[in-house]
């Protein structure tokens, strides 16, 4: 469903991703780990269509379509979701109104009528339960005055509402205490199905105790330098990244 071939990406004249390759099949969970500054967030932002990132060469196909030709909002409507590392605040706009606009934008894209108010509220109630949030959250302005944990839960809630096929989680676990981490992971696990794929970017192995990945990749110097199963994450936790850096010293 997602196929990235020889992707080279730069920002402000500096190349970040170098000949990056990755294949994700429907229903798979991939984790990407790696030291700071190796291009993990660049990968997520590029896939989501952030304009600052310039694609120098390479191909990305998503469900058979050329993802790189689509604008950020088109990609979202096609089913790409990014859970942000730093979700923004939108004063005066409630989560309810924001989600109503987003859900209906997607429905319109798929040739459907806007969802009626009753169904929408029902859907919200159902998805709120997934991340153990109460209704009061949705009437507050998006992320305004939210704690770090609340912001991340709100991201997972929005993901649940929009039912994407590709979920990109950019360090969703950073800054979370153990309870919030459990809630977030729980939400993700419930959203897992045979058609929905996940690309989880994380620094720490601990998230992977809750969300079991099919593959773990280590990024360094703008590309994947090692891939394996869950055990690779455990090895990284134990030994750190130094051995990866040594093995790939020519990349930096």
């Amino acid at each position: 469903m997602l196929s990235i071939k020889n992707l080279n990406v730069g920002i402000a004249e500096k190349q970040i991703l170098r000949d990056f390759n990755l294949e994700i099949k429907p229903g798979e969970i991939h984790a990407i780990m790696g030291p700071n500054g190796t291009g993990k967030s660049t990968l997520a932002s590029t896939l989501a269509g952030k304009e600052d990132y310039e694609v120098l060469s390479g191909e990305v196909s998503f469900n058979g379509k050329n993802l790189l030709e689509m604008s950020a909002d088109e990609r979202a409507r096609e089913g790409v979701f990014l859970a942000f590392q730093y979700p923004v605040e939108i004063p005066g706009v409630s989560t309810t109104n924001f989600m109503k606009a987003a859900v209906n934008a997607k429905r319109k894209h798929n040739g459907l009528e806007p969802m009626d108010a009753k169904d929408f509220l029902k859907l919200m109630k159902e998805k709120l339960a997934l991340v153990e949030m109460n209704k009061e959250f949705t009437s507050r302005s998006i992320n305004e005055g939210f704690s770090g944990g609340e912001k991340k839960r709100n991201e997972i809630f929005q993901m649940a509402m929009l039912e994407p096929t590709l979920c990109l989680l950019d360090e969703t676990d950073s800054g979370l205490d153990i309870d919030a981490l459990r809630i977030v992971a729980n939400g993700v696990n419930q959203l897992k199905n045979k058609d929905r794929s996940f690309l989880i970017i994380t620094h720490y192995q601990r998230l992977l105790n809750y969300i079991v990945p099919d593959y773990v990749h280590v990024m360094y110097g703008g590309k994947i330098v090692k891939s394996g199963g869950k055990e690779l994450a455990l090895k990284l936790e134990e030994q750190g990244y130094d051995w990866i850096k040594e093995e790939n010293s020519e990349l930096v």
Partner: protein, 481 residues
């Protein structure tokens, strides 16, 4: 930055959809201003002698005055001798009912979305339609009259309610108050007059729709609203003008008076032609609006949504004279392309325990300049006065400007004044977040802006809140790429 550049470029793409002209036979005053012009207008209106005297006094005062220069807006000198001060439909017959209105004028208002037909009007809104220098017709007059409410054009009030007009005209904005108020006092042509008698709660929204149609013509309307003891009225004005390359002057004066326990809620949705994307043409909107809370426990509330005009320069103000009186100012001012706005309010606390609240939301896009200017005065007599001001600026793109000029004059130590100001920007991160949820830039901006202005919008009567939201989306259409 590429994103932001695109934002600016596309700001420019918006269209003003009220820019058409109406072909009706009109008669004009000779170009320019002299004592004869004043006499001509007064005669056209069949005014009594005292009114002419009043105008001439204003004209003489104006001659000695200088154009103010302190505002943060820039425009070439206005040649007051090249303006036409009076334009009205050549009247063939007296208008007694809606059927008598010229079909061309009817069509104009249909096109503007405010049909002159009572059954089609928004339920519960009476409208005075003013085109150029005269009131075309006022609806629902008869049903209002039954409650003792007078809602008519100011010209008619001068003829039929001379005592009320003599007592209150110029009582809040004196003839020589400022340059443009003096000019207005000399040449004002029409506008609305509202009188709500003691104890009456006006059962419907009253509204005036101002339309500039004629070329090279200035519009100088005058509105006077009087709310007697214990009465209440909610009043709304709307404005549009055709698209023209030259600038047109609109210098209005609005006076409000509330007696004991009375309340006036005055809302404006201003959408004068703003000029084209290069800043050519558009209305100069230089307006003096002031309310006097004369009686105790009275209240005046101004709500304005300003999206149009090449230059907006106005400060709807409240003189809080009666003890415990309350003044409010809620404003959304949007500037795009080359528009300039210098707007805000004055709250003058004179009575004891008077309260005022200011909420100003400025939105700048394109290459526009948007200034908030607000003055809070607490006089010696105003024990326990309280003011809270909140001034927020929102920038779209990086070629526009937002400025805040608060002035505080406190002469009574028991007063309490709070001022809060914020500046924010619709930046790429915010847009990208919305895009990532499937919203286009247009949808995102519209949503963000409406959220930002919510506090002001909720002050508007329901029907107009929806209108204002739409208007805002239209005026910022294309403001992001």
């Amino acid at each position: 930055m590429a994103e932001n550049d695109k934002i600016i470029d596309e700001v420019v793409a918006n269209d003003y959809k009220y820019g058409f002209t109406t072909n009706i036979e009109q008669e004009f005053a000779a170009v320019g201003l002299s004592e004869d012009t004043v006499r001509f207008i007064s005669a056209k209106k069949n005014e009594p002698e005292w009114m002419l005297e009043w105008r001439l006094k204003a004209y003489k005062a104006w001659l000695k005055m200088e154009q103010p220069k302190w505002q943060n807006v820039h425009f070439p000198n206005i040649d007051f001798q090249s303006i036409i001060y009076y334009a009205a439909q050549k009247k063939k017959k007296v208008i007694n009912s809606l059927d008598d209105v010229d079909p061309e004028i009817r069509a104009t208002y249909d096109k503007l979305g405010i049909p002159i037909q009572e059954q089609k009007l928004l339920a519960g809104v009476a409208v005075d339609y003013v085109m150029d220098s005269e009131s075309v017709i006022t609806t629902f007059r008869e049903s209002l009259k039954e409650k003792g409410i007078i809602f008519c054009s100011i010209s008619e009030a001068i003829r039929e309610q001379p005592e009320l007009v003599k007592q209150y005209l110029g009582s809040v904005v004196p003839q020589r108050d400022n340059y443009y108020a003096a000019l207005n006092s000399a040449v004002f042509s029409d506008g609305s007059f509202v009188f709500i008698p003691k104890g009456v709660r006006c059962p419907m929204e009253l509204s005036t729709y101002f339309r500039i149609n004629a070329e090279n013509t200035g519009q100088f309307e005058r509105t006077l609203i009087i709310a007697e003891e214990g009465s209440y009225v909610s009043y709304l004005e709307g404005c549009t003008a055709p698209m023209r390359d030259e600038n047109q002057l609109h210098a209005a004066v609005v006076e409000l008076v509330t007696l004991d326990n009375a309340e006036i809620k005055y809302s404006t949705v201003q959408n004068w032609y703003p000029g084209d994307k290069e800043g050519k043409g558009g209305i100069y909107n230089f307006v003096t609006k002031r309310g006097m809370c004369k009686g105790k426990n009275s209240k005046i509330s101004w709500t304005q949504v300003e999206t149009g005009s090449a230059i907006t320069w106005k400060y709807p103000s409240c003189i809080l004279k009666g003890d415990n009186s309350i003044g409010e100012f809620y404003s959304v001012a949007v500037t795009n392309n080359y528009q300039q706005a210098d707007t805000g309010t004055k709250m003058i606390h004179i009575g004891k325990n008077t309260k005022s609240r200011i909420v100003s939301k400025g939105i700048s896009a394109g290459k526009s300049q948007n200034s908030y200017r607000g003055q809070v005065q607490v006089h010696k007599t105003a024990d326990n006065a309280y003011n809270s001001s909140q001034c927020d600026s929102l920038l779209i793109g990086d070629k526009c400007g937002a400025h805040t000029f608060p002035y505080l004059e406190i002469k009574n130590m028991t007063g309490k004044v709070e001022h809060e100001a914020t500046t924010s920007k619709i930046g790429e991160d915010l847009l990208f977040y919305c895009n990532q949820r499937g919203l286009t830039n247009e949808e995102a901006v519209s949503m963000i802006i409406n959220g930002y202005c919510k506090e002001v919008f909720k002050q508007l009567p329901m029907e107009f809140m929806v209108e204002a939201q739409k208007l805002l989306s239209i005026s910022l259409e294309g403001s992001v790429g």
